[in-house]
């Protein structure tokens, strides 16, 4: 039995993908903020990659200064609203809250954060504005968390900013990748509109930068170029049968899901390959789309999965079954996916080896590969002098974000190799200051 019936309307989709962290009302915010201890040198702040002054904004909410709370949040993190909803708070701020040590529920920092920011976004309260024009121009490639955060900070420092985005919407994977039960498209885009209306950068949508000529134009026209391009498509597995119909990459599947919602079709029996957070998301999402059976297949043991424990729990909670110590060898079927041939594996001294003769076929009608995103090495090779590390990550100064081509700066997934929205937002803010320091020399 499927846990969820297939959603056919917007309403049903919203029900199946109900928000895990719904926005609080004022009463709940008052109750929750009342519990915060206002710790000295608070551990929650240190656990936040963007260093939001958490006890400060919670105290502001508690004393009825919601606008001040939103300002505290945005001063540290331009994706304040999105982060409140999508951050893995269990391993960040909330995981560090001292209440955990008392075996008391930690403060719901994320939801309080979204409470304050939602309010200013709804009311269109102007908290920031561009700095005095300094006559310099910066191009930003990619309108994801990194690109938009850099644009905001650069505008506040007085730069003219043009953002070039391949897709039709801003926020990158926040709207094209993050699970819909974490944040809705409307919420994501409302924050983007709110930021743009305050800082006034230009975004050119459907404008992928993909050739050397285009880059050269930017290099000539702008004083610096910020790379916020994130990662690329799902990695190929190199298995026979990977091209069969209904064998898809997780990132691509999720992008479609975010865009077309209930209009996206899912198989009856889905096998998700992978053990990371994206695999957990894709499995949960398949189940919420009404798939009858969802199997999460992972090469190693359950304990070795890269996914956060709470993400696996979330998937299990919607009926996803785990299949461990199995490696896919072939996608079977005649044109359409009909199953996955696996071979059993065992882990010895940290090394996985296949057990000869243990092959079996697990039937299914859809395969989702959540086997990691490729790096955009081809595009990056068009930038002269730009160095990448062995894993295809851009090499840049940890404090300034400056790459080996001094005109180019980078932040976010393209630089850190793939982390969270909050990391991209925090890094980009710092990098914008790095650009400012460089151009002010």
């Amino acid at each position: 039995m499927a846990e969820f019936s297939t959603p056919t309307t917007e309403q049903q989709f919203a029900e199946n993908f109900a928000q895990l962290k719904p926005v609080m009302n004022r009463t709940e915010a008052l109750y929750e903020s009342s519990r915060c201890l206002f710790c000295f040198d608070a551990p929650c702040i240190k656990a936040c990659p963007s260093g939001i002054d958490i006890p400060q904004f919670i105290r502001q909410i508690n004393s009825g200064n919601d606008t001040g709370a939103a300002r505290t949040i945005y001063e540290a993190n331009y994706f304040g609203n999105a982060c409140g909803k999508v951050c893995p708070t269990e391993v960040l701020c909330e995981g560090a809250c001292v209440y955990n040590l008392q075996e008391v529920k930690p403060i719901e920092i994320g939801r309080l954060q979204s409470f304050a920011t939602t309010k200013v976004i709804k009311n269109g309260e102007k908290l920031f504005g561009p700095g005095a024009d300094n006559g310099k121009k910066v191009a930003v490639i990619g309108a994801g968390p990194a690109g938009i955060s850099a644009a905001c900070e650069l505008r506040s420092l007085g730069y003219d900013v043009d953002v070039f985005e391949a897709k039709a919407q801003p926020s990158g994977l926040t709207v094209y990748g993050v699970a819909p039960y974490k944040i809705t498209n409307e919420e994501t885009l409302a924050e983007m509109a709110y930021l743009q209306s305050q800082f006034g950068y230009n975004v050119h949508f459907n404008s992928a930068i993909s050739s050397r000529e285009e880059l050269e134009k930017l290099e000539n026209k702008y004083d610096a170029i910020f790379l916020g391009i994130g990662l690329g498509k799902t990695n190929e597995l190199g298995l026979p049968g990977e091209d069969k119909i209904n064998c898809t990459g997780a990132v691509e599947f999720i992008a479609e899901l975010r865009e077309f919602q209930h209009k996206v079709a899912v198989g009856r029996k889905v096998i998700v390959l992978g053990g990371g957070n994206t695999a957990m998301d894709a499995a949960s999402e398949s189940s919420r789309l009404g798939a009858e059976n969802v199997i999460l297949a992972y090469r190693r043991a359950k304990e070795e999965m890269g996914a956060y424990e709470f993400e696996y729990d979330l998937a299990k909670g919607v009926g996803v079954k785990g299949l461990f110590n199995v490696a896919p060898v072939e996608i079977t079927g005649n044109g359409y996916v009909a199953g996955v041939k696996f071979i059993r594996t065992e882990t010895k001294d940290g090394k996985v080896s296949e057990i000869a003769g243990s092959e079996f076929v697990e039937p299914c009608d859809m395969v989702i590969k959540a086997t990691g995103q490729a790096k955009q090495t081809e595009f990056l090779s068009l930038i002269p002098g730009l160095k990448l590390d062995g894993k295809g990550r851009i090499i840049a100064n940890a404090h300034t974000g400056q790459t080996s081509n001094p005109k180019y700066f980078a932040s976010g997934d393209a630089w850190n190799g793939g982390a969270e929205v909050v990391n991209a937002a925090a890094e980009a803010k710092l990098t914008a200051r790095g650009i400012h320091a460089y151009l002010s020399k």
Binding site: L30, F40, D53, Q56, A398, H399, L430, S440, K441
Partner: protein, 462 residues
Amino acid sequence: MPDLSINFAGIKSPNPFWLASAPPTNSGYQIMKAFDAGWGGAVWKTLGVPVVNVSSRYGGVNYRDKRLVGFNNIELISDRPLADNLREIEEVKKRFPNHAVIASLMVQTRQEWHDIVRQSQDAGADGFELNFGCPHGMCERGMGSAVGQEPKVLQMIVEWVMEVAKKPVIVKLTPNISDITEPAMAARRAGADAISLINTIQSIVGVDLDQFSPYPIVDGKGTNGGYCGPAVKPIALNMVKNCAQHPDIKLPISGIGGIENWRDAVEHILLGASSVQVCTAAMHFGFGIIREMTSGLEQYMVEKGFNTIYDFVGKALPNVLHWEDLNMKYKVTANINEDKCIGCQLCYTACEDGAHQAIKLNAGTRIPEIIEENCVGCNLCSLVCPVEQCITMERTDDATQHLTWKERTEAGTAPTEFNDEKAGGRHHWVPEPSAALGKERHKTLPGKARLYSGETVLPTEA
């Protein structure tokens, strides 16, 4: 089962819990309902001269998410016709002959006092409570706290009442006075049978930040009111104690002020009250709270082996001394239970900024450490610590010596000059003032700046 019943200056009641004269005792309907629920007695909403009330009468003090830790009103005495009240007193008494019904009274002239005492006596009231406490509205008309603040006037009026009263007379005292024992003594001199305290404290509970008016707001304006509720209990307890310890007052005390559960009631009783009265808690939670109060009181009495209320009335009084009689050789030192500590560091910042710089932080752990030599044993850290029994105050003297300020003064060993060697803080270590500058700035800056100045370096701005 312990016996909860009392005989308060001749007024009998099945338990010591009475509803105070206030809105919950405005009508026979409410009082019957309360007795039905388990209350032992009720002091009827004050009867007296005709009044008219305003609309918008109460204001509250909330603490964070807690509602009504303090409560304030600008209401006057009963605005119902006297005849209705008297008729209902009679009806209640008939239905509940063993419960205490006390008529609260407030009028002006001798004749008026005589009349109203006789009338309520005839209606069957078990006793009287003279309202000399209301701090607003009535005092402007020469009644309420205007009387309570003038011991001579108070005495005269009580004497008028005693001329006709055949039932016990309780005098209700206002706390809006510097020495509560003065009006209490005046009541005693006039022959009153008991006192009750405290009435409400003159207050403004808050100011509306948009309308620039105090609460409660009556057409854009406000006035001072009377403060009560949990927040006033400490003030009430001290005044109850003052009256109970006074060698000449020697009157039964009905304790009022901030009583919401059995613990509050026991505290009043331990300091000398032999009946307790409740208003705000009943207004907040309804009459049903009586079940918790009686059950808690019973349980406490069983655990302590008390058979009657009188086994512990005033039991804490011998332990309430003047400051000069406290043992200065007694010494406690804070002790952190590391297994319980959650590392919030509230104790650290409290002692560092608000006390005696006797707690330090060590690298690699969030558990603070007490610097024993510096700890004066003030209790602050143990009060702010959010974990039960995590910071305990341990006795560190050898418990063999006893020396009070009084004894030191008598022995001539008390400090007498401004720079006296014998002064207490003389040898207590205090950091140099300039050591404060920049200390822990990286921990108290806004979060973002903290990160920039910590692990990562903020790029220099041009």
